[in-house]
Symmetry: D2
């Protein structure tokens, strides 16, 4: 029996329709840097899907890159970005934000989420502090949806955070590296429109959701971000053959492909979750998205790792470990069956 | 008659063999961040092609990104990078190097090349200046081959620059965004081995030479660059699906594909050059590579631009303009014929 | 009755002997940037006081400046600095460290101190993490002595931290903005020699201990920090009339002045502490240095603030507040008497 | 006969009135960071002297520091600062501006000055360049008055530059490290009011004009620079005992002291210039300020350097060298006599 792979949601290339489109357009002569018709078309479709006709859309290559470019573009030198203490930018981006000169100001996290009341408390305490001009001024808020723990904000929670942000003139930026898997979760009341209404900037992840690579940055503020293109270039984030991103997102936003393949990943995750529960496994929490966190006894984990690859997540107690299984648009039903059989 | 396009050498996707390989491996499960077998194989082939078994090889996505990451990784805070005043990093990268905190120290250029004697003069004058500790210390040298003007260093020139660099302990970094087109030029005595012997770091351009995207950074110093991986990540330059780069470079360095397609672009450029000369056109200089610079009378240029797209290069005199025609691996012989017919 | 001032330890100018020396040398012609004889003499005296003849000594103007310059000079781009979560660099320097591109990695604090075992745990967990190359690498350790809470490390604690640092090749940097007040505390077993032996870099604070301004950076590593002078200049931290710093530190390290005036501040703080205890006040903890932290009932605090200025420190509980009283080299015995009378 | 010193204009401490004031206020309890009454008074006097009641005034310690803080505060990430190729920021600040992430865009210089027409040409060419979004956008203009060559703008020239700046929304920043010596030059038509009217930000140099140290930044834009205080702190440029700067500038702007002592330095320079001319020396050009540039035959220069210290400026031809003699507020008439006698 071959090894089963559930390490992450970016272990395959692209959805076949994307590759076909890349094949078909491969020798067409295209102008560079995203000024082509594929990008134009993809942007139009994304604006429509967001219900946000005034949005500016840019395509970047990867998640860390997108986070650092957007944050650099939004902040003034004396400002920092507020994030959950488990935020991807805080933990797993090798100091990318700090390399642009900005501090990350951390809030407590609840399955990776921050709470509007913690945010309110932090910012009001900052302004109440007599020494606040000696401190990094909160300049924006970063959240991820789904979070690094696979959890989701409710519409009400997003609106609550957005309200605090507006009160203090803090742009709200949402990291949607796995956005499709959040939007297609069962029971969520958050849609693309919700996000476009509550956030100033967000991105629609492609790398983990059907594309070879690529993230679509959506700027919903009517004034946009001045000279964002040049900031992208300056960070080495401008793809010469920009149409490669346009082709991919145009395909993803044609005939609802992005949502369909996201839904599939959720179906696979739900099947896995149900199977695990049926077998008596303990889950870290009831994750609604494509990342499932299972508490395994260490010896059992060791044995399983010979047959299945998964991610170490964190130590649970001296005898147990939390591990992560990720499904994706490319997970097949028989992969889940095989995994469940092994466990 | 349809428009002819000679604007740049990155107007098409990838060589068909690359797309086929991407199709074939598309649903294989691959580990992320370049730790896969395709990357391993590609690195091995590149080391062999360079005659440099100890080299470390990394794959990045684009040229500006590669320049800024390498320069940041090589310099200490008090150091700057020496470049021709026309260097890509100085003119067309939106301040990427400065955004990492480093100054670019410029030398005069000769068709985009610097001269060993100018370098020697600059560095020795620096150390002779009583105030040099108040000034940015030269910390490395950046050259491009071919240059932004399409010109090539000779082996002797590279060795001359390398000798000065070694004397002053300055790492030499070569931007090879169009390296294939330089190596396959007629009459050049510079090979990949020459470059690996004279440079501390260089990159083999893929974006402009057959790949969808990608640059292969080769570090020839036995000690490598410490924690280069983390610096790559920090700059947002780490591709999650790193194998996409491995697949491309593995294909390019199988059966000499990189060199064959580069040779083809040179053949097309030479055919164009001969045709233009035969028709009495004046060239800015006798460019040996895939970029050809033609001096056009302004009215003629205007008329031509209705039928052919090309790049504005610089004003020559009030009545004339220098324009650039670029061939590439994807240029067809009939495209050159069509262009020559139009001129 | 006039207002009593105990807000901070930098409310007066300089010790009179310093001003006299500045008067006396005022019209002497001096070469700039610290290349004068006063600086030379001061450095020699500091090296002697530290028992570290190979030390390199530099004079900077202020504390935040010194922290950012030293940290920038010690770290490579992929590294961060470990600090207590209450470290001055983390909280009250407006993001100065991050503005140089580096992340601060925080440890739990105990009256502002970090513990060797927490440090060991953090660093070993970092290297055990399979993803650590995606994370900011610990590159040095920052401690303050006295801490922001006025507390002191013991010799054993410093040695413990130093041992962990050496194991992981982490330079240890000690912020001595109030160093004199730490060295002259009663019962401490830490001397300048202890610090020179355990730390790679530290600074002897002048601004808060008798000087108009100035911090003396002592680099104990035999290889120094390469081109530190240029890094100082680059950060705008090089004083043109560098001898102003030399004159001040030369005076402070003549006839033990630095230690005598520090001892005086401690005497005043001990007198205050004893007086407060005698009056039944609760102290946050038994601070051994010139900063004393008192828990006041809020109404009482309000009333007292009409007659005495002090610093708000933190909320203790809804009815009580912690406030700080700072003595300094300039505090007079009658000031303490007056304060105690008011309380 | 003792050595004569004409190396620079910052070889002495402070004007005696300043030292007296520092003595007098030495033990007064002052609040920190510039929130004291001396600073308030000094700012008021400076606003009055500039005829600019809405100006915001900040005091910083040194010139490089001021340049980098102001430039960082004015620019957005995608912008650079335009400067003469001989600008202090470009040549002698160890890359301070680049260390904040910004490129310096250079213009030709004429005795250190830039010309409005060159500026207009540069900026209009930038916007005419089809690739300008791939390039660093001009974001502000830096000039110095007097220039590094001791030369002065006329009122008309300043207005010309200011007009171009306004046309392109480029803040104009004037480095006035030697401003007093410019304002008191004979025949200049530029006053403090002229500068306040034409510049968005400028600074009045203290370090070279009577103070121990200190530069007064004047922001004439009614909206100021947001959170400039925090940016100052972040760059390590905030002096804890800010009143030391207030005391100095308050004294300098009382009873016209700043102007009187500047006038004296000009008188000394004019006396020197006349003496040199009378003795047949060739001057590099007819400098109107306190820096005089003399062309010396190399053997003569060598001999003179045994008795007088001066600055090497630049090689004139193989047989001759340009050297600089600087007068200051502290130069005595007998020093000039002694120098002339030696030459």
């Amino acid at each position: 029996m071959t090894m089963q792979h559930f390490d992450s949601d970016y272990m395959e290339g692209a959805h076949p329709r994307i590759l076909q489109k890349l094949m078909k357009t491969n020798l067409d002569k295209m102008p560079g840097y995203g000024s082509d018709d594929c990008c134009r078309s993809a942007k139009e479709k994304i604006r429509a899907a967001c219900g946000c006709p005034q949005a500016q859309v840019y395509f970047l290559v990867g998640g860390t890159q997108t986070n650092m470019v957007v944050i650099k573009a939004l902040l003034r030198p004396y400002e920092g970005v507020i994030s959950a203490e488990t935020g991807h930018i805080q933990v797993h981006e090798a100091g990318a934000v700090e390399s642009t000169g900005h501090k990350i100001l951390t809030l407590p996290q609840y399955q990776g989420k921050i709470r509007a009341e913690d945010l309110e408390r932090y910012v009001s305490a900052f302004y109440a502090d007599a020494n606040h001009e000696h401190m990094v001024q909160p300049g924006m808020v970063y959240i991820s949806h789904p979070t690094e723990y696979g959890d989701l904000y409710t519409k009400g929670e997003l609106e609550g955070i957005s309200t605090v942000c507006k009160r203090y003139h803090l742009p709200l930026f949402l990291d949607g590296a796995r956005l499709g898997y959040g939007l297609m979760a069962r029971d969520t009341d958050v849609t693309l429109e919700t996000i476009a209404k509550t956030c100033d900037v967000f991105y629609i992840g492609g790398t983990k959701v059907g594309a070879l690579f690529g993230e679509a940055v959506v700027i919903t503020r009517p004034e946009g971000i001045p000279h964002f293109f040049t900031t992208v270039k300056q960070q080495g984030a401008l793809l010469a053959k920009g149409w490669l991103l346009g082709v991919q997102f145009d395909t993803l936003f044609t005939d609802n492909l992005y949502f369909q393949i996201s839904r599939h990943a959720i179906d696979m995750a739900e099947k896995l979750k149900a199977g695990l529960k049926a077998k008596g496994y303990r889950l870290l929490y009831d994750s609604p998205t494509n990342q499932q966190f299972v508490i395994l006894e260490n010896g059992m984990m060791e044995a399983l790792s010979q047959k299945v690859s998964f991610s170490f997540w964190e130590n649970y107690d001296p005898q147990h470990t939390v591990v992560r299984f990720a499904t994706s648009w490319a997970t097949r039903e028989e992969d889940i069956d095989a995994l469940l059989q092994l466990m």
